[in-house]
Subunit: 215 residues, 2 copies
């Protein structure tokens, strides 16, 4: 398809598409004449992801480029390819402060939890994973604010989230290639996580109404 | 306790505490002389919550005041008191656009899902709940970006989140009064949700490593 059709299909102006092409966020089209390039479904898909990252996720262009580079890196195994793309995204919660003495204590507690859960890979990857660091610094923050941050209390949630992760990966496996799976994982992280948190609040309201009545 | 001790206990400067008192975010102390007031554990607890809302949740002062007013409103039943405090918090995801024709369609789909889930209270509260509106507008956004937003796919997640909500309310019931329960619900929404999303990513990594190996 030509640039005009790509614009119509993706809902983005041709100027925006040209900007993304220049920034290397979308691979160039196949050149057919000196002034004309052909685009295909892969471009539509990629533009959709770039739009989700930048317009909804408010991810900076440089970060988006990094995320996409991981998605396209065929030298990585599947776990790393899915993981590395997600790792490059902005993380939830406060930034880690590994120099904090509280940090080592919270990390040791998380290691204990992972041990009990039998999450041996997460234990092995450890602080290399931004998600691990976010859990640790979240616990440190809670404690600093004067709230009890008992990592043990996370155990039942962690078990439920493991079941949710099973659903997540089942859904990803519907996509035929690892690149498409990585794209879907990234767009889900940006677009579906807020939705899921809203479903959680809705469930809390329902459960509260069941326990205490609606008024 | 006097202001100095309240400052030490809460980790906030006396100037900050005086600002929160002036803004009505913390109830005044019990006046014992013309120049001296006494504070108690309730002030420590309230300051902790105000700090979580403003410093971590980046909630504006006016919003924090609204959240606290709901927590303190003894005319409300428990569900409404917990709910109204959470409803005043900033919501996940994009703002609702009820004029959008796509909105009515997504809302009808969500109603169908709530019907199938048997969440009759959530169905009854409907678009009054910001969480309901956030799910609808999240689905509209996904579709507008060109992603399939099949509300049916949310069903297994919603069932898991209902189990999580059971854990949430069990934890809240540890607190003796409805006011303390509402405070805990609000601080959990601000402080624990990012942590929970990080646990979800950690679970995804673990599940991915189990399915596809670690490299």
């Amino acid at each position: 398809m030509r640039l005009g059709e790509l614009s119509a299909r993706s809902g983005l102006s041709t100027a925006t598409i040209k900007f993304y092409l220049r920034e290397g966020l979308v691979p160039p089209g196949r050149r057919v004449t000196a002034t004309r390039a052909e685009y295909d479904e892969e471009h539509v898909r990629r533009l959709r992801l770039v739009r989700a990252l930048i317009q909804v996720g408010r991810v900076p262009v440089a970060t988006a480029r990094e995320v996409l580079a991981h998605i396209d890196d065929e030298s990585l195994g599947r776990t790393m390819r899915l993981g590395a793309a997600l790792w490059a995204l902005p993380q939830h919660g406060p930034e880690p402060e590994p120099d904090d003495p509280e940090w080592a204590r919270a990390a040791a507690e998380l290691d204990g939890l992972l041990e009990r859960l039998g999450w041996s890979s997460a234990r092995e990857i450890g602080a290399l994973s931004p998600a691990y660091r976010a859990v640790v610094s979240g616990a440190v923050l809670l404690r600093r604010l004067g709230y009890p941050a008992d990592t043990e209390q996370l155990e039942p949630y962690a078990r439920k989230m493991m079941e949710v992760a099973g659903l997540d990966l089942d859904a990803l496996e519907e996509y035929p290639t690892t690149a498409e799976q990585a794209e879907a994982a990234v767009s889900a992280a940006v677009l579906v996580e807020p939705l899921l948190m809203s479903v959680r609040r809705l469930a809390q309201e329902e459960e509260s109404a069941r326990r205490y009545g609606i008024s």
